[in-house]
Amino acid sequence: MRINWILHILMPVSIVLAFAWAPPVQALGDAGRIIFFHVPVAIVSVAAFLLSGLLSILYLFYHGERFPMLAEKSHNSACLGMLFVILTVITGSIWARISWGSFWNWDPRETSIVILLLVYIAYFSLHSALGRSGSRDRITAVYLIFAMAMVPFFAFIVPRVYPSLHPDPIINPDRQVHLEERMKLTLLASAVSFMLLYFYMFSIMNRMSILKKKIGDRHE
């Protein structure tokens, strides 16, 4: 798989760029380098959630043969999204401790990511409570779509309407993008690396689901 090799080259490159090439953030110093890990992981966690919601919509409304195993793919995306959301919360807390002195401040963006984490936890609780029920895939798909319709509302609108401790006032005091060129490029490289990592892990999980299904069909 070609994506495999791009990832294995790009990720170490973006790690080196983040620590050795990008300049430190003005007010935060070297601690600001966490931006190159926290922001991409946050983006991937929300994107994974939206993708699992979209796959759920396809699962419920599309009855063709072109997209097989949509329910399993949606579940795999949710699993990865959960992992990335946990990483976002951890890296965000560490950064909050360094920048603002306490691990958790209920800043609107922090609140939005906690709501996303709770949605994932609720999804997995529902998934396990439904067990091997025939309607499990359908009901969990409905829950994801329901959550997907509401969570971006809080993730996008609330942080824009209410003021935030998040670094926009520090990095962008006049609401323009104020990252230096090197930082922009490093952030872009890091974001693409994490996207590729998610993509790669997602494809591995999908292949495993297909294998499981084939083996299950053979046993039957």
Binding site: A129, S135, I139, V142, A147, A149, M150
Partner: protein, 234 residues
Amino acid sequence: MILQRRLSVKGGSALGSELVRNIIKDVRVEFRSRSALGVALVFAAVTTLAVSMVSGGVPFEPKVQAILLWLIMYFSAMNGLAHGFTREADQGTELFLRIHSDPDAVYLSKLIFNISLFMLVQCVVTPVFAVLMQVDVKDTVHLVLTVAAGGLATASAVTLLAAMVAKAGGRGPLFTVISLPLVLPVLWVSITATGRAISGTAAQGSRDLLFLLAFSGMVIAISFILFRFVWLDE
């Protein structure tokens, strides 16, 4: 099968008459035992009494009073609002309802039932809370509107989730767990707006009310579309 709708010679009035019939049935069954309403009210009363007793009659800040009020209402709702669907599953009437009624009518009747139930709980809990916790309400109209809007938003959000929980066996804290992330923003806004109504600083109150009403509308619309996927078996 899922996307087919039952055609009626009379068109839309069939949905209306089914809706009314289901609501009357739910109300009659509920008032035979009053279990959902009773559990919710008893829970609210006990919690309010306990908090009032422990506080020793000293009034809290408006913000704290708003938080306590909404926590009591939310958890008493969690005891009662899933009942609409779980009772159908327990009594074995679910299959009959599925065959007999259009999913849209079932959803709307359960929604109206849940909203009414929650509003009734709020009508009882809010004055009792205000009296026992010595709440000095500066803007009563705004408080009533906020509590009503918050109740509408909460009840709308949990109706579809109650149907899911009924399918999953409906036991234990599953309902609370799956509804918490989706109701948390509603609680956040409701608590803030209620705190402002109590302290009389409701300058931005209309924005919060608008948010709650918009949220209710969106949730009802999405639940209406998705309900048949939960309710009907393929």
